[in-house]
């Protein structure tokens, strides 16, 4: 997947059949991070802290629902993916950029949590099939994240 073109409203990427299939698989894993992962405070002290945690939990649940809606709308929009020759072109509106980045990072972090939150990220594919799937999802989500970040980084680089 690579950036083809961009203007003030959109970014356009080129993908192979395989890259598109993998991207859709990765996005299909969302949401991955368990709600209990998000802590507002390391040491909740009183009822006020617990109430603030409840508000955060509500806000994140709302965000997950909103992201699922946005994701469905994006993937079902006929303008998002267009076959050109043997390749696909994916067009993202600028407004879609940050929430898509959040979705991909959720898959990356959620897969890392599913691996047991290791301090050292796995250097080899685990032998266990489920663990291998989590490791692949983590790496692939990260790969797509970096392509997106590089696309906007290139615009601001001197």
């Amino acid at each position: 997947m690579k950036l083809l073109a961009a203007d003030k409203d959109w970014l356009r990427f080129q993908l192979s059949d395989g890259e598109k299939a993998v991207l859709l698989d990765v996005l299909g894993l969302y949401p991955c991070v368990p709600p209990a992962y998000h802590r507002l405070s390391r040491e909740p002290r009183d009822n006020a802290d617990r109430e603030r945690q409840r508000l955060l939990d509500e806000a994140l649940a709302e965000q997950r629902a909103q992201h699922r809606r946005l994701l469905q709308a994006l993937l079902h929009n006929p303008d998002t993916f267009r076959k050109v020759g043997t390749r696909w072109q994916m067009t993202l509106r600028r407004g879609d950029f940050d929430w898509l980045l959040q979705v991909l990072n959720d898959v990356r972090v959620g897969s890392w949590i599913a691996l047991g939150s290791p301090e050292q990220l796995p250097r080899k594919l685990p032998r266990d099939a489920a663990q291998a799937a989590h490791a692949c999802a983590m790496e692939l989500a990260g790969l797509f994240q970096m392509v997106l970040l590089d696309a906007v980084e290139g615009e601001t680089a001197p």
Binding site: L40, A59, Q63, D98, Q102, N105, W112
Partner: protein, 102 residues
């Protein structure tokens, strides 16, 4: 299951609680980002720029502090603003917390 509800806060303690909260508000609240091995450095920098509107240089400074020292105090704010920033950072799945400034 109990047939009666016990109030979470005793009425005679209301004043003490609010006094303590006022004092905490005066000191402010710290927004802290903690290190983890999974979030990319470029991603963390991008998030700091988006959430705080910081220039890249400042965002990178705090990202490196998180990476090298395990955490970075990103800002000191009122309760409401600190809560807002932590919510934003958690939306990006960063490990961010808010603590009362001592």
């Amino acid at each position: 299951m109990s047939a009666t509800n016990t109030p979470l806060v005793r009425p005679d303690r209301d004043e003490d609680t609010s006094t303590r909260d006022d004092a905490a508000l005066d000191r402010g609240w710290l927004v802290i980002c903690w290190n983890d091995p999974v979030n990319y450095m470029a991603y963390v920098t991008h998030v700091f720029q988006r959430v705080f509107g910081w220039p890249k240089q400042k965002a990178e400074f705090h990202m490196l502090q998180v990476n090298n020292q395990g955490k970075s105090v990103l800002t000191r704010e009122t309760l409401e603003k600190a809560e807002h920033y932590v919510h934003q950072l958690q939306h990006y799945t960063l490990q961010a917390t808010m603590e009362r400034a001592e």
